[in-house]
Amino acid sequence: MTPAMRILSILFVLGALLWALVPADALAQGAPGFQAGAPPGNTLGATSDAEFWRQVRQGRLGMVSIPDPYAAVLVRSEGDNWRALRNGPISYYGGWLLIVALLSILGFFLWRGRIKIEGGRSGREIPRFTLTERLIHWYVACVFILLAISGMVLLFGKYVLMPVVGKAAFGHIANACLQGHNLFGPMFIFGIVAMFLVYVRDNTLNGVDWNWIKRGGVLAKGHVSSEKNNFGEKVWFWMAVGGGLVLSTTGLAMEFPWIPTIIQVQWANLLHATAAIGLVAVALGHIYIGTLGMEGALEGMTRGTVDENWAMEHHDLWAKQVMDDLNVSDGRRLPPEPAAGGPGGGSKDGAPQGAPAE
Amino acid sequence: MTVHTRPEKPSAEAAVQAFLGQIDASIASYLETCVHCGECAEACHFYEVTKDPRYTPTWKLQPMVRAYKRHLAPFSGLKRALGLAPSEVTLDELEEWSELVYDACTMCARCTVVCPMGIDIATAIRRMREGMVAAGVAPEGLHEASDRALNTGSPLGLTLRVLQKQIADQEKETGIPVPVDVKGADYLVILSAMELIGFPEVIGALSRIFKQANVSWTFSSAAFEATNVGVQIGSKEIATSLLGRVVDAAEALEVKYLISPECGHAYGALKWEGPNMMGRNYEFEVIHILELLEELRLEGRLRIGGKDSRRLAFHDPCQIVRRGGVVAEPRNLMAAVAANQVVTAHAGINNYCCGGGGGVSSNHRAEELRFKAFAVKKRQLEEAGGVDALVTACANCRNVLEEAIDEYEMDLPVLSLTELLAEYLEPEGGAG
């Protein structure tokens, strides 16, 4: 687990750096040329109100008799900017991103249909995910779905739900979702750490992945050679881990808002929403391809085993390895040579059991 | 007149009726409470060697659970009316379950130890077999054995002549006369069919031990067979009829004790199930041979003169230890006779079954599975660093283990604890 631990620590350092780099006043517009304590503009009415409000808006510090200097700011613009970003581009483009994701899935379905096991089922199964891997996957999946739903309500509910159910009802819903989101958040952190530790072994990138990219991955006709996880799956893993790290750190900042500065909390919120939308969008694709989109994929994560033909078509290098191991221990016969190594991925030749190797 | 135990026409209804007749409050609580956690699978040797989820102990009860929930459970009427009750059990299912209930369960009760709800699967399987017999889906091998037992008095068809021959041989061997039909003796000895045919040396061993300990004992020519195939196939009728012969013989000879021999299910049948089946308690007491030997040893009447130096491990027969309650005795006796005893992991009430109890060894179609199941015993022994010989106190275990050891091409003798003790008796007249 040493490489794993190394990667984990690098990620943590990166996360910490990212955090430290957030300047305390990054969102505040500088307000040059004003001295603390001096009244802005000509309060006797010589200057326009616009000038007055612009100065207020720029975080002009007034005078207060209590020690908290922030109390001397009439309008803290950072908050307003944060709100503008969150309710503006993030909600807007984020919402569109999710719609685009759904549409692409639909498009992919119309184009490829349910991806069948081309050689049909062989009736022989090989183990794919261990019970530990499956348990962690589903634990994270359950918590992620709960968080995703409650989070989406918090982010988009105002635009999508409120017009439908009305303000009062939405108030209750949002209240509930906030409580639920805060409750399940910490459970997610444990899940994502466990997931990283258990899955990282099969998700390190290497030359096989480069080949997979060059050949067009899922978009390729036929099947491209791959290990236990193909490049797309590995990227999903690293997105989940990276996104999980961002979500966890920023989530904690929001759950304990008295520890970071207010500006950091605002940043945390924006990062959190952005990372979450990204992950949800990819998760939609992941869920689709793992269930409806591909015959024979889901059982690897439920029963833990997959059909030999499925394995050979989608993860030939790994499948061959597993079958060789089984062959040694169980006396099972050798699997056929994979044909996916040939140009263009001649899966038709490779799929049926016992077909002669090219 | 020859008896045939297999019902003429297979019938699912008969099974359902019999299931329901078997369910009392305790069985109902077992069927009700199972939370489907699956822990029990990990305890069952049949699941462990096959990893086939159908061999999960609680799943083996499924048809009986359904019959119960459909017809007998609280609210079953309401659920039937609403169409929420489980469907009626079919003959096809019962035939499918015949394998699970007879081939893949030795009624060893190891699953009960691990069950968080304390569900007694073994007892429930015993009850369920009554329904399987009524339905006509019990395996052929057990019906054949039952027919032979009812017609000849022994599931292997062993007659009095066989006993007489074995007694004569052993008398010649030991030079000690073997008492037969002695009225008023203290102890009546009966044997399991397997001992009678395969391990007759036990007769000689008993004569030597009883001579040293000065025990008054006898065989009966009217009943000498302890094996009760009725409790294995799961038929109270057959079991009671076989048991009745032994009880009658013991009471006719007016003995004080009946010795339950080195045979697992015989002990349960004689000691625990017996009085309930007969509807009365006996005029004598049932004592297991290990209990008697330990008693004699403690009284100083059984004197061990030396110790075996081989690496010996004791295989706990499920029906005698885990389900019989004779737990400390074999351990003390082993300690008295074995200088290099190997205590395997899980020894005692957690021990793995030999794989052939509960009628599995008389059921030919289960043979392959039974040999597979031996893999867990093999592993258990290997993990203990290997042994020179296994010692046990059940002739059926002994036979099953020997067959499996052959199958695995291992070299491992299996001994009887009684015989082992007899070998190390203090020499006559010797003081030390």
């Binding site: - | 956690c37 459970a73 691990v114």
Partner: protein
Amino acid sequence: MTFLEWTEGPLWYGASAIFVVGAAWRLFGILRLGRRVELSRPRASAASGALAAIVRHALPRGEYVERTWYHVVAGYLFHLGLFALLLFAAPHVAFIHDRLLGVGWTPLPRWAFIVVAELAFAGLILLWVRRICDPVMRQISDRDDHLGTWLTFIAMLTGCLALQETSPVLRGIHMLCVEVWMVYFPFSRLMHAFTWVLSRGFMGANYGRRGVSP
């Protein structure tokens, strides 16, 4: 009547009645089947065997821990968490005080409530995910297992969603979900909450009189 008044009034009384009467009837229905008199001579006491089994089967067995630790950990997280929430959540203590017993006790502080709730949810989720991905549990689970888990989950979840205690509607929803759960309870495997005493007890008595405590 408001929604909350409904759920804390008539619906609450109705559900409670079904829960109590149903569970009692179910237990009675099992016990009514009776046990035959044991005629064999016991080697030891059946009663102490029953007690021993009731205690011992609550504890993991050393020999099997390697295989069973998952259920032990998740099972205890969930069950202990659930009981802690049931008895010590501040609104529950108030409810018990005002509506049921007339006595109250010190509730959990809010932070402790949250920690306990998270552990309980984690336990329940872990138990359920094993049900969907362990071949043995997949084989033996039925509709009732899933429905029972889900209803329990929803009852707990709605409770936590009402955590801020500012919304009567959320409180009402929690009440309603709990009432559905209570009505489902006597007809389902959730009854194991009571029947475990019977199964462990009967088994323990059976073996106890034989002088062994498996």
